[in-house]
Symmetry: C2
Subunit: 675 residues, 2 copies
């Protein structure tokens, strides 16, 4: 049975440790006591440092780890899929065919891809809060904090070559400065065919039992040579046992476990319905396009997969929120309390969220072309301002990676861009006039249909050309204002409304929420200190847990580990119908495989999106798994963790090794992994 939402806070107040395997712990405040009490295991600093320095963040997409001294990086196939997509051609679809570089020289450079290793962490809470004066309004305080954070990031960056990012923890209860070593020459080493990486596809996503080799290998290079890595994870040769203790080190993206009742009501009544409305239509539009031809399917494949994944997750979360029995009894809200401020901010958010989402987040102009043009326009204007006054994403510490993305020559398909933009403009036109009037923003174009507008803007924009992007970026405001590019002109037209929506959202919603949660967090700190973990923030976290099956809704006992035989069996039962048809390489190589080899496994680790690609290690610190999913019950992890049915789903390293050896004949890599 799932716990009541929000019981978390009450629960941790009453006990000195968490009974469940709950928590996405900071490496700065690891759960030594909890692990000792529940598993009788000593989390030593040496163990933690090694695990931390072997972990890395894969672009802004997920987690990864070093698995050799020669810079070999392991992550999920779905985390690296965008690169496979970008490296594909009409002649060789790497998602379809997989990839293996027989020699170092065959490894394929991934343009614009960065891998970040978290090498330092510092608590700078006092420094940030020192900028806030008692007489400041919430808005002024927010601005003061932002200024202080920008200054601290800049100061730190000036000292070393690391990239520094300040992360707000405990809803403003603490601020930590993280330093990352950046690798930006990353090359593709190995990827299996998508049909085995994502065996079962969207239908089996978030389900269990599973059979996915959701794994890709990349390599970090420095000065054109494989990077020398001190901290990397060795692979286990002993497999996993029931109830065995395991750790996950990765970058969980975002949880909202401190949310108050009223904030969750906003999520249930506004945020998720709106998000799902967009996801449903996109899934249908992308599918319809994909189904017209195989080349269409390849072009839109990544977008479609992402949408399906988000959709399934959002449905799961909304179902949790729409379950009244999880809500417990409402409490009286004291006037002037943080809870009341949150309630009022959510009421405000219900009004201003749509404009923010459509204009500032660009959901009305769903296309890469718009986002590129937007970045070019803003770069020109923001770069002229002092660092602390810029929009966050244009501050000095973000500029390098922003430019790397901006000047990436990853292919952009006109036809995909047109269907995406047509649909999002259509959606905008469908929104009741009371919400937003499209013609107020785009008056000159009101005589064209969404399809006509989208076709015109996409086909006539030149910003899909990297040289043109560079020319505009170098030309600054002058070049932007002189540009006749329809997409640049569109961005300029939308700009004031978009910035207004952002400012309004930040001032009326974000600032009071931050302040109120900071106050709530402060109260919690006074009671609990660092014995609790902060909500996920896409910074490195440690989760502990055990290999453990569970009981399904209908009472079926689900064993924790699947094997290769099970995969072939599922394929057989589904008559090898896509996405249940393993690749030819596996069918041909079946007789060579040990069918008892472990395939996927479930554990009680507390994870969430962003953890994809995280290494799972045993008590010896050896890799036993590669996290790639949560089961359907884990979808409420965003709001509340429950150990009964919620499970983390990983690829067993055994199946990766078995297939590297017998299916892909990747001897070079098997050797590098230490076998």
């Amino acid at each position: 049975m799932m716990r009541t939402l929000f019981s978390l806070i009450v629960f941790v107040c009453l006990t000195s440790f968490l009974r469940a395997d709950e928590g996405m712990w900071l490496f700065e405040n690891p759960p030594k006591q909890q692990v000792k009490e529940k598993y009788n295991f000593d989390l030593t600093d040496g163990f933690l440092d090694h695990l931390r320095l072997s972990s890395c963040r894969f672009a802004r997409r997920g987690s990864a780890s070093f698995v050799s001294s020669q810079g070999l990086i392991m992550t999920n196939h779905h985390v690296g899929a965008r690169n496979l997509h970008e490296l594909s051609t009409p002649e060789n679809n790497l998602l379809e065919n997989g990839f293996y570089a027989k020699t170092l020289a065959d490894e394929l450079p991934c343009k614009g891809l960065e891998v970040l290793v978290p090498v330092s962490a510092e608590d700078i809470t006092e420094k940030v809060n020192a900028a806030v004066k008692p007489e400041m309004s919430a808005e002024e305080a927010q601005k003061a904090r932002s200024g202080a954070i920008a200054a601290i990031e800049k100061e730190a960056a000036d000292k070393t070559k690391l990239r520094y990012e300040v992360t707000t923890l405990y809803q403003g209860g603490a601020y930590h400065l993280y330093g990352y070593k950046i690798y930006n020459d990353i090359r593709l080493v190995f990827a299996p065919e998508e049909t085995i990486a994502a065996f079962g596809g969207d239908p089996d996503n978030y389900e269990y039992p599973r059979y996915c080799v959701d794994c890709s290998l990349f390599r970090a290079y420095e000065d054109g040579k494989p990077a020398k890595i001190e901290h990397f994870l060795k692979w286990s040769t002993s497999g996993v046992k029931d109830n065995e203790l395991v750790f996950v080190s990765g970058f969980p993206g975002k949880t909202d476990r401190a949310y108050t009742r009223e904030h969750l009501e906003f999520q249930r009544d506004v945020y998720f319905p709106w998000r799902l409305q967009k996801l449903y239509r996109r899934e249908v539009v992308y599918s319809a396009f994909a189904n017209r031809s195989l080349e269409n399917a390849r072009r839109v494949g990544d977008d479609l997969g992402a949408v399906q994944n988000y959709r399934k997750r959002a449905i799961g979360q909304l179902q949790g929120l729409q379950t009244p029995s999880l809500w417990g009894e409402p409490k009286k809200i004291v006037e002037g309390s943080p809870e009341e401020i949150i309630k009022l901010a959510c009421a405000e958010e219900s009004n201003c969220y749509y404009a923010y989402d459509l204009l500032e987040l660009g959901e009305a102009f769903n296309s890469k072309t718009f986002q590129i043009a937007r970045t070019l326009v803003r770069l020109a204007y923001e770069i002229e301002k002092p660092n602390g006054e810029r929009l966050k994403e244009y501050r000095d510490n973000n500029l390098e990676s922003l430019k790397q993305t901006l000047f990436s020559d990853a292919p952009i398909y006109e036809d995909v861009e047109i269907i995406k933009l047509t649909d999002s403009l259509t959606m905008w036109r469908e929104i009741p006039q009371t919400l937003l009037d499209i013609s107020e923003v785009l008056d000159v174009d009101k005589n064209k249909s969404p399809k006509e507008l989208a076709t015109d803007w996409i086909l006539n924009s030149k910003v899909r050309n990297v040289d043109e992007r560079k020319r505009l970026a170098e030309g600054g405001i002058k070049a932007i204002e002189a540009s006749q590019d329809p997409m640049i002109k569109l961005v300029l037209k939308v700009e004031s409304a978009a910035r207004f929506a952002r400012e309004n959202y930040e001032e009326a919603v974000e600032a009071p929420l931050t302040a109120a949660y900071a106050e709530l967090a402060k109260k919690r700190f006074e009671k609990l200190g660092t014995s609790v973990y902060p909500d996920a923030t896409f910074t490195l976290r440690l989760s502990y847990g055990a290999v453990k099956g569970y009981k399904d809704d209908d009472g079926t006992e689900i064993a924790p580990v699947t094997n290769i035989a099970g995969m072939f069996d599922r394929a057989e039962k589904q008559k090898h119908k896509e996405p249940f048809d393993p690749p030819k390489s596996w069918k041909d190589g079946k007789s060579k495989l040990n069918l008892n080899t472990s395939f996927n496994l479930v554990t009680t680790n507390d994870i969430i999106g962003g953890n994809s690609g995280s290494p799972m290690v045993n008590a010896k610190g050896e890799v036993v798994g590669l996290v790639f999913d949560g089961n359907i019950y884990s979808l409420s992890n965003n709001f509340v963790y429950t150990e009964t049915q919620s499970r983390c789903v990983s690829v067993n390293t055994d199946v990766i090794l078995e297939s590297l050896r017998k299916i892909y004949k990747a001897e070079r890599i098997v050797k590098e992994l230490g076998f």
Copy 2:
């Protein structure tokens, strides 16, 4: 280029005939003059009577025709698909495997299926209008008309065995009484595999070139024997030529060509966005369910196919409505004019449509179980009232077919019912509280989640059992009120809100719209007489046109006729990926087929949904095609017909015959067809 919306009326005012092949003409007022002037062909009464009496309506789903003296009926595979679905078992999926009855005795009875032949038509406009007194309000007038119509239908039915239905034409400008001969012992004779009937599936739906054998054959029985049919259509042996004159006789469902600007704005801003929102989510939810297993796919296949079809159609229509260049200049609305009344009614409709749709049309309770329980409850109460005061669908003339549907033992799948109901309840909960508060209607269940409610109601309801339905229907109000069935109780809880929503909708929207359009129609009549056709009303219509290709948006010339070779070529290019993989029977039989055999064809006929299954005949009255679709440009036919690109898509009878002979070895049927 498409014509401006609404130019229709202006256009026909200025000319004595329609230049374009426009019109869904009444057989009572056939376009003799137009056909003579444009094609120099005499539409004789004999030609028309024979075509009309050979035509039939297939349940409430589409059109069909008699093609032998022994009761053989031809319609689309997709029109008869529900019966194939119902006759399927887990062991033999008729959609997958197709069906051919080798002997008469093998023909499979389709429970609950009716075929209607339109044998008489009478103009009763004066009788209906005689019931309206000058002092009556719009609402009273509407009631008086309804009473008169019920009385006329009853009187006619008492005289003969035919079923009578009064149809409102010209938005109330005229009323015609149609008499139908009913066949209700219908048996399945032949259906190809769905993979060739719907080759290209949803991706190629509304596209061209096409390659579908979208055809099924049924047989009407009387007294346990094949019905003796006097009027049936012979098949042509001469194929079709470019620009050849052809006629379509069928039941176009609904067009809205008389809609005023404000009414179309309602369609664009409220109706279609809301409809698409529902369709998008259903398509995603049904697809996700279907993709989990082959049996799931079979169970939900019909629902999914319908949703995809509606979705594609709605997107096309909305795209037309969102094209400002099609709208022309707005006109000033005179105070008190029909246009103003329509404008006000549409404003009202924008408010009350959601409640009407969710509660009265049952969209919040999307499941067969709810619809059955609703019918049982209403039947009990309505049957006690005088005929004229009943809800339309419970009047004597509708009771027989209502009961046939109600007591059909077609399978209903619990799991499909649960996912449908879960999703629609979830959707309801997502609707802003200002619109409708679920707890007002369902107060006692407010502690359960949509999934818990749906599972409870579906699993514990017994109305999926036909005997239980009969028991409740026989028990009347007493049995209904004593029932502990959760779905009956749900219907009763919703009933007052639902009826209120319906009454409100009928009074505030339908009645003023009917009155205003009647006035507009009256003005048109005064100018145009019967030289124009009325909007489609799912009654028999005649359309004329010619075999003609067209130019695609990107300039490609599309030839009007495809052939068998083209189908195999498309399959090859799509690597035989579903839905581009023809059935084994075709692949095995390829060498026997004449690859030049005509497959599908496009013509300029003015058709719309409901025309599916219509016979297409040449000037000799011989069948040359079987209408099954319109191309993408025809989707705006609902509002405006444009001859430039809008095309009717048919199966060439040549490919049906070729496959009956060489693929399906259906000698018995080939002979019966006269070959």
